[in-house]
């Protein structure tokens, strides 16, 4: 039972990071119908920039407390990523808005690899350890279930950010313009919405969220790396599709569900596929020696954790392309 609760806690934490990233995908997709492949790499840039800034601040003003240092790092990262998001939209995507569908997609892949390469040039290929500014001593709300303060902060702040985004989209003038542009950007233009500005704003907001998610991701795992964006990027995309792409609520639900499935799956995959637990198999001569001394014969170990996202993505797209809550889009593309 403790294991199960522990996996739920881990899943919620990872899931809320996925959800933040998924929001960026889903907003851009909702408005442009484009999968912004480079979104995961914006997350990576966010993490590495904040790392650099935090190290710099720690060196220059060592007297500054941990929280202000983190805040400085975070805000610089967010600013840089917002700028980056704007530049990407302006330079790579805007000119291709009316091109055949494959063109912006291929450009997006190019941008993604360009960002990775540049990060590799600047920060090298090594894994950098990310300073643990919030204490990592785990709390124990229930016996046997651990949660670190970092994880608590991640959960709370991502909930706050998501609420903020929902309010922004549903209650403000900017949000209304965004929804109108997503609905039909030509008509929105006729109604006096500056669609170019709205699209750029969408990219900026999405990139800002990705930067926050990057800092969270790195603080949680304690590392940053030039290729760290790929895996959360692809998983967040899966989350967006799972929830129903183009739908903000869906992205959040999808992120959390994916995080839970992944961490529970990883926790139990090994023992679930352990042939020693199957009486018929365990009796067979070939396995008896392996299983005898408490050994195991796991067909799939937790190394396969990463395939969950892809399998879920495939299943959702094939059986329920609308996602958990969303409109059908898979053959609109």
């Amino acid at each position: 039972m403790e294991t199960f609760l522990q996996q739920i806690v881990n899943g919620l934490v990872v899931g809320s990071v996925y959800a933040l990233v998924a929001l960026g995908y889903t907003m851009v997709y909702g408005i442009l119908g484009l999968i912004n492949f480079a979104h995961g790499d914006v997350l990576m840039v966010g993490a590495l920039v904040s790392l650099q800034v935090i190290l710099f601040v720690q060196k220059t003003w060592p007297a500054l407390g941990a929280i202000p240092t983190l805040m400085i790092g975070l805000s610089v990262a967010v600013t840089v990523c917002m700028l980056l998001g704007y530049v990407i939209e302006r330079a790579a995507y805007r000119r291709l808005r009316n091109a055949p569908r494959l063109a912006p997609l291929i450009t997006a892949i190019g941008v993604s690899f360009l960002l990775q390469t540049l990060a590799m040039i600047i920060w090298g290929r090594n894994y950098h350890s990310f300073p643990q500014l919030i204490t990592t001593a785990p709390l124990q709300p229930i016996d046997g279930v651990f949660i670190t303060p970092v994880q608590v902060v991640i959960l709370i702040s991502s909930a706050l950010l998501m609420t903020g985004l929902i309010l922004l989209v549903n209650k403000t003038r900017l949000g209304r313009a965004m929804r109108a542009t997503a609905e039909n950007h030509r008509v929105a233009g006729l109604m006096g919405v500056d669609t170019n500005k709205i699209i750029a704003t969408t990219f900026i907001i999405g990139s800002g969220l990705a930067a926050v998610a990057g800092v969270m991701f790195s603080s949680n795992y304690g590392v940053a790396h030039y290729a760290m964006g790929f895996s959360p990027g692809i998983k967040a995309f899966t989350a967006a599709v799972l929830g129903g792409i183009g739908n903000l609520g869906g992205a959040m639900v999808g992120g959390v569900v994916l995080g839970l499935v992944e961490s529970i799956g990883a926790g139990y995959l090994g023992s679930a596929t352990d042939l020693c637990h199957l009486p018929i198999w365990a009796q067979s001569a070939s396995l008896q020696t392996t299983c005898a001394n408490g050994g195991s014969f796991e067909l799939l170990s937790s190394n396969y954790q990463d395939i969950f996202a892809f399998v879920i993505l495939g299943i959702v797209l094939i059986f329920r392309p609308t996602g958990l809550l969303g409109e059908r889009v898979s053959d609109r593309a």
């Binding site: 892949i109 690899f113 396969y304 892809f310 495939g314």
Partner: protein
């Protein structure tokens, strides 16, 4: 071959016959020139030919049928691992190449169908991301299938693969002509690969102008209309996936025999993207363009490497951009700028088999 002739801009259109001869001659003497510059360059040419084959296979899927496949390298992996399983000391099997190569191609084709079935209904970017997932799943399995039973030997990969032997003659051995002069095995590999590439070009060209090829073009330009005129889109798409995969499988087998070693590292997403870039760079749907794209993008990083490294040494005293970084930089920039400036590629496909304006108009409506 006509497509190849057009690779030479002005001669190709004025005097295709002469251009064809020039191209043929170039293909034949390329390794002999390269051998003068050192064995590395012959090796690079060999790899360029493998990339040409991969790009041709991917072009069949992306360029002809319009199905964006980001997991293409998985089929290459299937071919290479088939070779590794059936012709290496790993399982103690040493089957002859005329058995292993078709088996690898067949397995790859099956993998293509396995991938094709679930993604039949998907188009565009969704298809791209699911195929990417397929490629990653294959790689994850290659990495982890060393436990509980050692199938793939995990990240270490499998080594000491058998080399290609034709009629009992191992082409990885140098052929001594006289005491001091021998025919380099790398050169031999080049000609063998060239044979396969030429064969592929002929097959693919025939396919393109056949009923099947026209069916693919129709699906690419407007799937609904293609269905309406009686094209079995399901079978056509599956055929595209499996045929495309077949070429990947053959190339994979050749790669295994040439390299003598396979590991999951060779089949990363980056390689899928690199092949896609070659197709896009040269011109999707145009065989000549794709070949030029593949040759250019596999040779350019190497040329850059040999030029840029000494220059960096001279200027900064140490190497700032290592070859792998240079390659990634080149590929990603090629992808972005090609799409922005010349979206149809260096050599755009002929309008007879491709109507880009139709594609644009169709998408606008949707």
């Amino acid at each position: 071959m006509n497509e190849l002739a057009e690779a030479i801009p002005w001669l190709g259109s004025r005097n295709p016959k002469a251009a064809r001869h020039v191209v043929l001659a170039l293909m034949m003497i390329a390794p002999l020139i390269a051998v003068l510059c050192g064995n590395t360059w012959v090796r690079i040419l060999d790899f360029a030919l493998l990339y040409v084959m991969l790009a041709l296979g991917l072009n069949l899927v992306v360029g002809f049928a319009g199905l964006l496949d980001l997991g293409y390298i998985a089929f290459y992996a299937v071919g290479a691992y088939t070779w590794a399983f059936l012709a290496s000391p790993h399982f103690g099997l040493h089957l002859p190449f005329w058995l292993v190569l078709p088996l690898g191609a067949g397995f790859a084709a099956c993998a293509g169908i396995i991938l094709g079935f679930p993604v039949l209904r998907l188009r565009g970017d969704y298809l791209a991301i699911v195929t990417l997932g397929f490629g990653e799943i294959v790689r994850i399995f290659m990495n982890n299938l060393n436990y509980p039973i050692n199938v793939t030997n995990g990240p270490q990969g499998i080594n000491m693969l058998d080399s290609l032997s034709l009629f009992g003659w191992d082409i990885s051995r140098h052929i001594p002509i006289t005491e001091n002069f021998k025919i380099n095995s790398l050169v031999l590999f080049y000609y063998v690969f060239l044979l396969f590439v030429v064969g592929s070009v002929i097959v693919i060209r025939r396919l393109q102008i056949s009923r099947i090829g026209r069916g693919w073009a129709a699906i690419r330009d407007d799937e609904l209309a293609a269905k309406a005129i009686g094209i079995n889109t399901r079978n056509m798409k599956l055929l595209a996936f499996s045929l495309g995969a077949t070429f990947g499988g053959v190339a994979g087998g050749l790669f295994g025999s040439f390299q003598g070693f396979v590991s999951p590292e060779s089949f990363s997403l980056m390689e899928s993207i690199a092949i896609l870039t070659m197709v896009v760079f040269g011109g999707m749907g145009n065989l000549g363009g794709v070949i030029i794209g593949a040759v250019a993008l596999s040779l350019l990083p190497e040329i850059l490497r040999s030029v840029a490294l000494p220059v960096q040494q001279q200027l900064f005293g140490h190497v700032i951009l290592d070859p792998e970084v240079l390659r990634m930089l080149l590929l990603s920039l090629a992808m972005i700028f090609m799409m922005l400036l010349r979206p149809a590629g260096l050599m755009p496909a002929h309008s007879r088999y491709s109507r880009p304006e139709l594609v644009i108009a169709g998408k606008e409506k949707a």
